[in-house]
Amino acid sequence: MSHPWQLPARELAGLVRNRQLSARELVRACLDRIDRLDPGLHAFLDHRGARALADADAVDAACARGDDPGPLAGVPIGWKDNLVLRGETTSAGSRMLESFRSPYSATCLQRLAAAGGVLLGRTNMDEFGMGSSTENSAYGPTRNPWNSDLVPGGSSGGSAAAVAADLCPLAVGSDTGGSVRQPAALCGVVGLKPTYGRVSRHGLIAYASSLDCVGVLGHSVDDLGLWLQVCAGGDAADPTSTSAPVPDFTPAARESLKGLRIGVPWELNGPGLDDEVAAATEAARSTLRDLGAELVECTLPHTAYAVPTYYLIAMAEAASNLARYDGVRYGARRTGAKRCDEMTTASRSKGFGDEVQLRILLGTFALSIGYQDEYYGQAARARDLLRADFRHAFAKCDLLLSPTSPVPAFPLGSRIDDPLAMYLCDALTVPASLAGLPALSQPCGFTAAGLPIGLQWMAPPLREDLLLQVAGVFERHTDHHRRRALP
């Protein structure tokens, strides 16, 4: 048998259920690999060690009794540091929450554990999800497993690097403007952002509430479907979660793409792309044609407004959401202030990093009297125009296709001092976020320097089934996803 950490999650769960592999052995293998490789990557902020092994033992005991522990039996799962787990530290990559221990658990983590998954440890992230490189973590950057001088993308860079380095077969992330898909592309793994509301956000530390989605990263499209099957569905604790029926995300394998119309919006497939990214996506389009799909040019005319719209809305919502960190009920407090408002200002100025403070200031500006309609109001209108663009495109096409990131992984430190250059990393992912659509990134090639390139699929609301089905066909006919960063 291969090393357990080389196998897909679904296969691992089957081996554990059939008692051909113990959950303890599997979790131990991942913990050993983390101890060996993660000092050079910093994908994990910490792991649950003995507690994860105890959870694995419970799975093994259930199997020994003849009980079914669930579809994720024994599968070790990392999770982004902005999802709370009762009794465990959750910091959102911030000094502000360095010692915060949650009194409750995120719904998606509860569902994963109830399905037999073993929660392995917290993965690194840009502070409060604000960044595209994981360099904005208060605990130091994560490095890309394909080249440790490069960033893994962000903000779920820890989760992407953890999967790419085979430290765990699945890792949960969150995607506000591309924070699952962009690091998936830069690390050569598969990443899914479901439809807004498809997976409960209860227990996800809020950044921009009208955009935040819980997502996942793994090595195969099928494993993402397995995760979604477990996590999708309405939740009374999250009024924005949808109670729409959850279909079977593992339909019989589809071999051909005959009859499928794939739209190629020119605004996301030409201007500003790195040459190697453009060539790899052109090769992917050719493969899709060979598989029987019809590729049609289409347009999303308001794409040029997407990046400013996204950042305005996200910053305005962040300024509001992060107002809760006042040094009173939880979070860091700066001692020595004589008055409560002084204490709050001092605590926030000490607890938040530079990028978070910049976004709060800009969000406050966008909502301030005299400028609110000119900025935030206009962004809300632009968002409606973008949604209408997608609706018109999906009237003619089943799915839309583009690269995930305009560039492959870039050197640590090369963009961190230029916020605008960093924001443009999200140019291809923010449109689907603004429209609340499901979207997926999968590997579609490599640069001459051996860096992965990602292909992005976008689907109509709640059509993750189609997204996974079609991405699965592409995956079965290519081998980009099989290449590994580290032995």
């Binding site: 604790a237 407004y305 040094g327 200002t345 926030r348 406050t364 500006f365």
Partner: protein
């Protein structure tokens, strides 16, 4: 149309106050420069038509849960996260002068 704002130390001071943040003098020039650059990139939005747009079927109605009390969070665990507590309450510095 409202004139484009000039980001100077006065505006920064006002925004920092509203944001409950303190931007030290040695960082103000860099923060102002970044704010100026980012808002300049936002200016494209000011050309958009002002008429409201039909958001169509993406504007899903928010369904709220029943307004019924549920078991509260464990109080001891909640208070354990507070920087300072006394007698089951959060302690803060003086709020009212006097």
């Amino acid at each position: 149309m409202v004139p484009r704002p000039t980001f100077d130390r006065t505006l920064l001071q006002r925004l920092a106050e509203l944001s409950r943040l303190h931007v030290p003098p040695e960082r103000q020039a860099e923060v102002l420069q970044n704010m100026q650059r980012v808002t300049a990139a936002f200016d494209a939005l000011r050309d958009l038509p002002l008429a409201p747009i039909d958001a169509g079927d993406n504007a899903a109605a928010l369904v709220l849960r029943a307004d019924e009390a549920e078991p509260p969070l464990p109080l001891a665990e909640v208070l354990a996260n507070a920087p300072q507590v006394a007698a089951g309450m959060f302690v803060v510095p003086r709020v009212v002068e006097g």
